[in-house]
Symmetry: C2
Subunit: 345 residues, 2 copies
Amino acid sequence: MKNKKGNNGNVTLKEVADALGVSTMTVSRAINNKPNVDEKTRERILKTANEMGYTPNLVAKSLVSSKTYSIGVVIPEISHSFFPEVVKGIEEIANKEHYQIFLTNTSEDFEKEKKSIEALRAKRVDGILVSSSQTEEDFSYYEKIIDSGLPLVFFDRCIGNIGASCIGVNDFAASQQITEHLINRGYKKIGYLSGPKKVSIGKERFDGFVAALNKHGLDLNEKWVTENGYNEKDGYHAMSTLLKLPENERPRAIVAVNDPVAIGAMEAIREAGMKVPDDFAIVGFSDDIRAELMPSPLTTVHQPAYEVGKKAASKLIKTIEDNTEPIESVQLITKLIIRKSCGSS
Amino acid sequence: MKNKKGNNGNVTLKEVADALGVSTMTVSRAINNKPNVDEKTRERILKTANEMGYTPNLVAKSLVSSKTYSIGVVIPEISHSFFPEVVKGIEEIANKEHYQIFLTNTSEDFEKEKKSIEALRAKRVDGILVSSSQTEEDFSYYEKIIDSGLPLVFFDRCIGNIGASCIGVNDFAASQQITEHLINRGYKKIGYLSGPKKVSIGKERFDGFVAALNKHGLDLNEKWVTENGYNEKDGYHAMSTLLKLPENERPRAIVAVNDPVAIGAMEAIREAGMKVPDDFAIVGFSDDIRAELMPSPLTTVHQPAYEVGKKAASKLIKTIEDNTEPIESVQLITKLIIRKSCGSS
DNA sequence: TTGTACGCGTTATCAA
DNA sequence: TTGATAACGCGTACAA
């Protein structure tokens, strides 16, 4: 059986007004605490509205105001411990400012990413926060979004110089630093397990790695560089490839683009009957919740995920509410966490 | 500078219609693939709409149809590895059915939970999925929600017999089973680190623990039962309390209400200079991503988190789209995962 | 202080 | 096949 009025169970201003014999405007004013309402009528209205279970219809409000108080959040992989922390930060700030968040998970698939954004746009979100999985050279998709005027802030995986703010970390410097840490420990034969280099963190971190080698006069051995995805299975696969090299042509240390990849690689090393750090030193990036618990605790770069989320949400909301808010690229500071996997004593 | 028309950069049906000199209805029909449009005009319209960058305004559509294709998801703690998996399952099903999800994180706070639900209701979500943190006896809040006709499905932490479906796991049986596993290994002095027993999983799991003791003729020692929250720090705190007992009055094995609590307790044990399982055997619940990596890998109950999410979303959407969909209480099957923390050989 | 008219963008309905 | 009108629920602008 359907409701006579399509509005599900919900009470409208008009229904409250009719019940009291006043106009909808008076009810509206009373409920929104506008000054020009007689105190007695206000009380009557509030009482009745409450009894009738009135809740304002934000859909109608949004249609009039072109403001939904909703923001879209697009992330590549909610299972990585980094992202739930980011989302927590986003949610905290958003709620404080009375926004709700639409969450979409793209599973590292750019096509799904685009579809999600179209859905969010159709829902008329006030803005979107994106950690992009785009692996193409062509940034016109995001350029169009930004040109259209939809407020957009990238976080973690950014697309630079196309007119959107970005909240990330110092990927280049941190990657250089952790690589130098390996070099300083005496490792010279160092391999790199990369993610797609078209993705910002893929490029930045790899470049940091190369910069460290150059600075110390070490050569980049192309055979020791693999390019796969950002998950455990990708790390496992990449490391398996390196393990197929003849023993004297293998690297002695490994830098992984992130912790899930490092963790996958460690599994491949273990299965090959070898040990970390005795046979391979290895370092990661992101300080996954599992990093310190690995059989050989993983040396990595700690990222302030919660702060990234808060900062990104805050920047987006400022951009939404004030279109003179400047575009900026923020790099939050990471911290090198030295554990045993790099051969630390 | 503001837009003349408040609709941000978005093109409307009317604008497309004016550009072609047809009525909005014709444009609407063309775009929605209704049959009664001349094929030539349809083509002209689609072409122009596309060129102008038309995207339908779902807010306006929702106002007319009283349907938003949005569902609210309320979870207690997104940082627990269990919940991101659930959310992933929810998102997968929801997207397939063209729904978007509003995510809210309550940090185990019932007041925040209620506020989130009010916000979601004001946004006129088509339904909500809730894992409740309510710790009161009085269920009238949810009774009112359900009576109001807002489709609601609980998952993981349910509130029973008040007219909503619930997708959970066999908490009672699994808790009994894992407790019996300890008993069968010869442990007789068994303590319990509980969460709030007003929360469904708190009660079910504790009752399962007690049932196992009873079945084997063991007494429940009240001193060995603590009631705290569901996080690591709660487990740490609870275990610290037990460790203050004189050595001969301490339990020899511990059942924790979930893995985060078990992990916190293990930390307390380690800090006290004692070992798992040598000094204390311990088991958890939920198969946290860290469980197998603990210094003494944690024996626990694996929950099909992703399946819980898919099933919950699927049930909610069915309930939304067909109000004759029966109320049901589903218990998905868990699996006992035996590792070393229970003294397994 | 209170009420009336109108518009936000869309679709259902009925008329042409 | 196409168009005009009304309605969804609310708030702004103006009138009483």
